[in-house]
């Protein structure tokens, strides 16, 4: 696993998130569920707690956009770049953007939103890309069954090196 230079991380365990808009590819309820599950895989193994807010500035602002979408890191149309996220920091830090030109899905007939979101939230929490092809934080997309999904040991070690293990018995 890799961290960002300076091993940047959130200096708190309670992190807020806000979903700013939705993709027309799947229902908003499914988007809510995919985002919730993608955050839960990280909170299950650390002391982090995620709380959704519906107005104001959250730590992790989540949105769908195409091409140039306001951060000077334009997307590139269908395929290629799927999404990106900013490392922990105030302002744009933690924010997570999905390329609306992709076909988003809850299954495998397109790009699975849960899998991509889980990867991007790894960045939003301070993980850079891993060289382990079996890790969630490997740069390229590979479909995996959502129901059987497990973080690799590389992912677990990387996030717990930043925040420690879950303190729940």
């Amino acid at each position: 696993y890799n961290h960002f230079p300076g091993t940047i991380k959130w200096k708190k365990d309670k992190i807020t998130y806000r979903i700013l808009n939705y993709t027309p590819d799947i229902s908003s309820t499914d988007v809510d569920t995919a985002i919730w599950r993608a955050l839960k895989i990280w909170s299950d193994i650390t002391p982090l707690k995620f709380t959704r807010i519906f107005e104001g500035e959250a730590d992790i602002m989540i949105s769908f956009g195409a091409r140039e979408h306001g951060d000077n890191y334009p997307f590139d149309g269908a395929n290629g770049l799927l999404a990106h996220a900013f490392p922990p920091a105030a302002g744009i830090g933690g924010d997570t953007h999905f390329d609306e030109d992709e076909t988003w899905t809850m299954g495998s007939n397109g790009y699975n939103l849960f899998l991509v979101a889980a990867h991007e939230f790894g960045h939003a929490l301070g993980l850079a890309h891993s060289r382990d092809p079996g890790a969630l934080m490997f740069p390229t997309y590979t479909f995996a069954s959502v129901n059987e999904f497990r973080l690799s040991q590389d992912d677990v070690s990387g996030i717990q090196a930043l925040y420690g293990a879950s303190n729940e018995i």
């Binding site: 890799n2 230079p5 770049l81 799927l82 850079a128 060289r131 997309y141």
Partner: protein, 87 residues
Amino acid sequence: SAVPLSEIEKNEEDWQLAQTYLNRFYKLKDSSAGFASKNRNYVSKSSLSNKIKKMQEFFGLEITGNLDSATMGIMEKPRCGVPDVAE
């Protein structure tokens, strides 16, 4: 023997894709800054080859510095937009 035009165009396309990929994920432009002042799009061959090596090393490919098919295969895969060489 003359190379078919389609093959030259394919090679050109591959080099364009590679430069875009390496700019975005391996900070290509920084390492050829000396040339950038003369011509924004000029990237020294050695700089490109070094960045290809860096990318091949990251992905566990054979480190050749050349744009071989395994390297192109990775560059064409859908992926995350965050650089592999953390900035």
